[in-house]
């Protein structure tokens, strides 16, 4: 996002994009109108205050009388109350607009994310999706609502000041206004550069942040390799870059403000010159001259505001594009029109029939990108209730097979049959709602243990939940918590070990009772004791269910009905454990390696992952 800093400022405003964004404002047209009215009044009061000074000089001081001062003071107070009120109103409305529209776009984005296919998740990192519906949305809508405020104020202010000045004296006004075009050009020139360098500084700042992060996490490594010096030097370069960019940004804004205020003074001088002559010729009064001086002194404020809004809009366009790209993203896997015609529109909340669970891959090929096949003419026949173990190295294509079976992806070529029917011809929800999925790192949601186990089946009774927990031997440790099943699992984990989390996930799957189960096994990070419990729980959930296991545990692999050894998108060996051991091939090697790791664990207790002194 930050690399294209230069490009951002060369891009012209994309009207189409902004029109789409503005649609979100439509619902709040009352807010928008309110802001416009408030800002016009605000500008009017701002332009009126100098008139009071003028009046005071010309009528009270010049005539040496205080008659009517009370009324004057009252009017002044009325005006300032009006100004205070409009400030209250516009801040209230603009801020509300900001937060309301943010909320709306966020919700739309979130709902879209619930529907998008997994291919979208593969193309876009989770972190970037997260940023889009949080900070990008906030920044964009903030700039829109506050930009609106500044824009309307600036326009009305300039208009009113000009009108008032013309009413007082045409000639001085014309002379004074010659400064305006120069102000406009200079403001735009500087605002763009200031924004550019402040973004540069921000970019370097994030480089420094990751530098610190590396420095902290890699400190021991730096020591052992004696790289302290070279890392310090590298880091110094980064801080130098940061310093240069930040100073540049400060220099530009340091140049900008004096230049603009000098221009203001030039306006003032013009007013003094022209006005002074007229006073001497008694064409205008001293009060009017003061009025001109006061106006010229603040002329640059609205112009500067407009330039800033313009630059901000330009720079936030990228954020807008990212958000719109998400909101308008194509959903690749959805029910075809024929399916909808036949079955009706099936949403996630509707009940679906139970599947038997037979799955057949027929000449299935799959590619994420054109020309990069990750799976080629793959065939597999899975009977209901069978367990298929997939083994192979990271990136070999195991997950692809699972994703295809779950219809998180659809084959590029070939057909997948579920219960004998091409699964593209039945509603997506029929498959998804019959699925159980267990991730490599056990995934729990913030909430109570009860909520988590019940997650997939809202109408499950407390008893159902407890039965499932008992079945996976989780009941005992759950009851050890003071609040039992109501123990809250927080973001950090809340005193629950990884193994226990796994058990809760398995219990959740059991309550949900899917007919197809997918298990992405963890590369064991729990102690032997828990490991055994987890294994027992897993074999319970696997029994009588069609299942795919991306396997690491020997026990799981051995019990599978069929083992597929995958390498670079091809099945290189397949069969039962005994058959594959006979082959003395790839599987045989994998197995012996794994055996040593497992037997070590038996002897040494805990896996050798974290040095004791760091625990």
């Amino acid at each position: 996002m930050e690399q294209d800093n230069k490009e951002i400022f060369n891009k012209s405003i994309d009207v189409n994009l902004w029109r789409k964004v503005m649609k979100y404002l439509g619902r709040y047209w009352k807010h928008v109108m309110g802001i416009i009215i408030a800002m016009v009044i605000q500008a009017a009061t701002d332009a009126t205050f100098p008139l009071f000074t003028e009046y005071a000089i010309d009528n009270f001081i010049a005539n040496k009388t205080t008659e009517g001062v009370i009324l004057f003071a009252v009017l002044f107070v009325v005006l300032l109350i009006l100004k205070g009120l409009t400030i209250y109103i516009f801040i209230y409305l603009a801020d509300r607009l900001w937060h309301l529209v943010s909320h709306d776009i966020r919700v739309d984005g979130f709902m879209k994310l619930q529907e998008l296919s997994f291919s979208y998740y593969d193309r876009n990192a989770t972190g970037s999706l997260f940023t889009r519906i949080t900070s990008d949305v906030g920044r964009l809508t903030g700039i829109i609502s506050w930009g609106l405020v500044d824009m309307i104020w600036a326009i009305s202010m300039i208009t009113m000041m000009t009108v008032f000045m013309f009413m007082k004296n045409t000639k001085i006004t014309l002379v004074v206004l010659t400064v305006v075009p120069v102000l406009v050009v200079i403001s735009i020139f500087f605002q763009k550069r200031i924004l550019f360098y402040s973004r540069e500084a921000r970019r370097y700042n994030s480089i420094i942040t990751s530098g610190f992060s590396e420095g902290i996490q890699g400190a021991t490594t730096s020591k052992t390799l004696v790289r302290e010096e070279s890392h310090i030097n590298e880091f110094e370069k980064k801080t130098d870059d940061m310093k240069t960019a930040a100073v540049k940004s400060a220099v530009y804004s340091g140049l900008f403000f004096p230049i603009v205020s000098i221009l203001g003074i030039v306006g003032t001088s013009l007013a003094v010159w022209q006005g002074g002559v007229m006073i001497l010729g008694e064409v205008i009064t001293v009060g009017t001259l003061t009025l001109f001086i006061l106006y010229t002194l603040q002329f640059f404020n609205p112009i500067n505001d407009m330039a800033r809004v313009f630059a901000n809009f330009q720079s936030s366009q990228a954020a807008g594009e990212r958000i719109m790209a998400l909101l308008e993203a194509e959903i690749d896997i959805k029910d075809s029109d024929e399916v909808i015609q036949k079955y009706g529109k099936i949403t996630p909340d509707m009940p679906v029939p139970k599947l038997k669970g037979s799955i057949r891959f027929e000449d299935v090929s799959f590619q994420y990108k054109e020309g990069e096949k990750v799976l080629e003419t793959f065939n597999l026949d899975v009977e209901p209730g069978q367990c298929i173990a997939l083994v192979g190295e990271t990136g070999s294509g195991k997950t692809t097979i699972v994703n295809l079976a779950c219809r998180f992806y659809e084959p590029t070529e070939g057909t997948i049959y579920v219960d004998g029917e091409d699964y593209k011809k039945i509603p997506l929800m029929y498959i998804h709602k019959n699925l159980g999925y267990m991730l490599q790192s056990p995934h729990l949601f913030s909430g109570t243990i009860m909520d988590n186990i019940r997650y997939g089946k809202e109408d499950a009774t407390d008893e159902d939940v407890m039965n499932a927990a008992k079945m996976v031997e989780a009941h005992d440790f759950i009851m050890k918590f003071e609040d039992g099943y109501n123990h809250v699992i927080s973001k950090g984990g809340g005193g629950i070990s990884t193994g226990q989390k796994q058990l809760i996930c398995i219990a959740r799957a059991i309550v949900n009772d899917p007919c197809i189960f997918v298990l992405d096994e963890a590369t064991s990070s729990v102690d032997t004791q828990t490991e055994k419990v987890v294994q027992r729980a897993i074999s319970k959930v696997l029994s009588n269910r069609t299942s795919f296991v991306v396997a690491h545990r020997l026990s799981t692999i051995r019990e599978a009905d069929k083992i597929l050894v995958i390498d670079k998108g091809h099945v290189i060996e397949q069969g039962s454990h005994d058959e594959l051991m006979e082959l003395k091939g790839h599987y045989y090697n994998l197995y012996t390696n794994q055996f040593i790791e497992d037997s070590n664990k038996d002897i040494f207790g805990t896996p050798e992952l974290i040095p004791a002194e760091c625990q």
């Binding site: 619930q114 890699g218 021991t220 205020s261």
Partner: protein, 598 residues
């Protein structure tokens, strides 16, 4: 106050620029006050007919007297413009030097922190909570920088403005000065308390935002669970609830701010009104001129906003103090002794002796008890032991990561303590079990951009570490970025790159702290064989659980509870009952199979 000392330390090297920034700022402020005064004088004494006093009178004379100026009003304009140009130059210089100084200070703090973290002790490093430390290095630092760069300057400016304005105004008219300051203290106090008050609301909103982020994170990372449980609508409801909560907390702040800005603006305006109305009375009585009333009005207007800002700065000052304290804590942490250039730098051959070495992290818990062994140059030592048996501690002591208090460790007969740490580590290389790769290219990770290391050296190292082929298979080969911005290496690949990275230093002693645990046995064997071939004279120490790896060592130590409970060669150890034999028996069936497979 020690914190002040720290501030002084940060200012070092930037003091001149910092002072220059402040001095220029003061001059600029004074000039801008003077400029306003000139406008007043022009209104009164050029356009009006009041005879000026003091400097103004002299100024008028220099420019040719009232009559001349009246005929040539452009001269007055020019005076105004030149005043503001000079003022502008000072304002610019002030901003420039302040920026140079404050960015210089920020850089200094960053470098101090980074340098300190690189040279702090191993124990300190391992106990760092990364998130907390990151906060100290980024947001705390930013708070301190902001205080020095902006807030302190604002404070000075405010004081200068108040003192100078009051002096000028007081000379002109006392009553009007009093009127001009009647509300200002309240404006400052109001801002001070308001910002103290809203900071609590901000905290609540931040928490709500955090809760919302958690919902999104959990949803995104558990998307497969969500889909298979078909809970999309419930998830959406949950999200809407959290987003609404966040929105509502924000809206509360909105209301507070709307009140604050509306009210404070009205009060500021009222202050100007008071000056204006009082001024009318005074002017009608003739105790103040029109021009000077304009001066008053401008001065008061220019004072109100900085003072309102001031209240905020003072309200935030506590934060800067806390942040500075947190940075100080880091810089006060112990530095690794001998991380300087002191100590011996002998040519290291690789003979190592441990004699009665003990070690304890805490006084009552010895992790190593009277460990003694010795290993000749070029030989291989292997260690087997459970987690917590002290084997890693032992190796960490050998590279000087942990200090030893009892006993003696000698390298080539020289006491390890006396050897310069960096020299020691250049000669004794260790591959950590969970190596940390830097987010640079693979090449940079291995060579550290050292110009003396050729591509050939790098390839040699990676070939020995059996990772050459894997690297070449990446699209960008050796220029592949590691980590978030590039490829994620598997555990085994990481370990192998780490081995290559250590090999490049041509160490006389190589230590493998169970650093082959994530590679398969065949690769493990390939690496060992390559090492034997290419690094024949190197002393090797390794921790492993694989009998096949252990058996080739010249000496095997079995460690339990911080003590060496058994030692010998493979053939000796399998003769007696003990941990080694136990492990051997467990693995022997596999070993048999492997042999058969060869």
């Amino acid at each position: 106050m020690k914190k002040l000392g720290l501030l002084k330390q940060f200012l070092r090297g930037n003091g001149t620029a910092y002072t220059a920034g402040i001095v220029f700022m003061i001059i600029g402020q004074l000039l801008s006050l003077a400029n306003t005064f000139v406008i007043g004088v022009i209104i009164d004494s050029v356009i009006g007919e009041i005879l000026p006093e003091g400097i103004a009178y002299r100024g008028l004379l220099i420019l040719g007297g009232r009559e001349h100026l009246m005929q040539n009003l452009w001269i007055c304009g020019l005076v105004l413009v030149s005043f503001s140009v000079i003022n502008g130059i000072f304002m610019f210089l002030s901003r420039k030097y302040s920026a140079i100084a404050s960015e210089g200070i920020a850089k200094k703090i960053r470098m101090d922190l980074y340098e300190h973290l690189q040279n702090s002790t191993y124990l300190y490093n391992t106990n760092i909570k990364t998130g907390d430390m990151m906060q100290r290095c980024t947001s705390d630092l930013e708070t301190v920088r902001n205080f020095l760069a902006t807030q302190f300057q604002d404070l000075v400016r405010c004081i200068v403005l108040i003192v100078a304005s009051v002096t000028v105004m007081g000379k002109l008219n006392t009553t009007l000065t009093l009127a001009g300051f009647s509300l200002i203290p309240f404006i400052g106090l109001g801002a001070f308390f308001f910002f103290k008050y809203v900071s609590k609301m901000f905290l609540l909103a931040d928490e709500a935002e955090g809760a919302m982020s958690t919902v999104i994170e959990e949803n995104l990372s558990g998307m497969r669970i969500v889909r298979s449980c078909a809970t999309q609508s419930r998830e959406t409801e949950k999200f809407i609830k959290s987003s609404v909560d966040y929105r509502n907390k924000d809206l509360k702040i909105t209301v507070a701010f709307a009140w604050y800005w509306g009210l404070s603006d009205a009060i500021c305006q009222l202050q100007i009104g008071i000056v204006l109305v009082t001024g009318i009375f005074l002017a009608v009585r003739g105790s103040i001129s029109v021009g000077m009333l304009t001066v008053f009005m401008t001065y008061v207007t220019n004072l109100i906003w900085p003072i309102r800002g001031m209240g905020r700065v003072l309200g935030d000052m506590g934060k800067a103090n806390v942040a500075l304290g947190r940075i100080k804590e880091v810089l006060d942490a112990p530095r690794e002794p001998g991380s300087d250039d002191k100590g011996l730098t002998p040519d290291i051959e690789g003979q190592i002796t441990f004699e009665d070495v003990s070690f304890a992290y805490t006084a009552d818990n010895e992790v190593l008890k009277n460990v003694s062994f010795s290993i000749e140059k070029g030989k291989t030592l292997a260690i087997l032991g459970r987690t917590g048996s002290g084997k890693s501690t032992l190796l960490h002591m050998l590279v000087g990561l942990l200090p030893y208090e009892k006993g003696s460790i000698k390298v080539d007969g020289i006491e390890l303590k006396d050897i310069n740490k960096k020299h020691l580590r250049k000669n004794i290389g260790i591959v950590l079990q969970e190596p940390f790769l830097f987010s640079k290219t693979i090449k940079e990770n291995i060579s550290d951009n050292n110009p003396e290391i050729t591509d050939e050296d790098i390839e040699n190292a990676t070939t020995i570490a059996s990772v050459d082929q894997a690297i070449k298979n990446f699209e960008k080969g050796y220029d592949t970025m590691v980590g978030e911005k590039g490829v994620t290496l598997s555990g085994g690949q990481k370990q192998r790159v780490a081995i290559a990275r250590t090999l490049i230093n041509n160490c006389k002693v190589l230590i493998f702290d169970d650093s082959l645990s994530a590679v398969d046995m065949q690769t493990d064997k390939n690496i060992r064989n390559a090492l034997k071939k290419h690094c024949a004279g190197t002393t090797t120490i390794l921790i492993s659980h694989r009998i096949n790896t252990l058996r080739q060592a010249d000496l095997i130590l079995v460690m339990e509870d911080g003590q060496i409970t058994d030692r010998g060669t493979h053939n000796e150890l399998i003769q007696r009952e003990g941990l080694y034999k136990q492990v051997y028996d467990m693995q022997s069936c596999v070993l048999q199979m492997e042999k058969a497979g060869e």
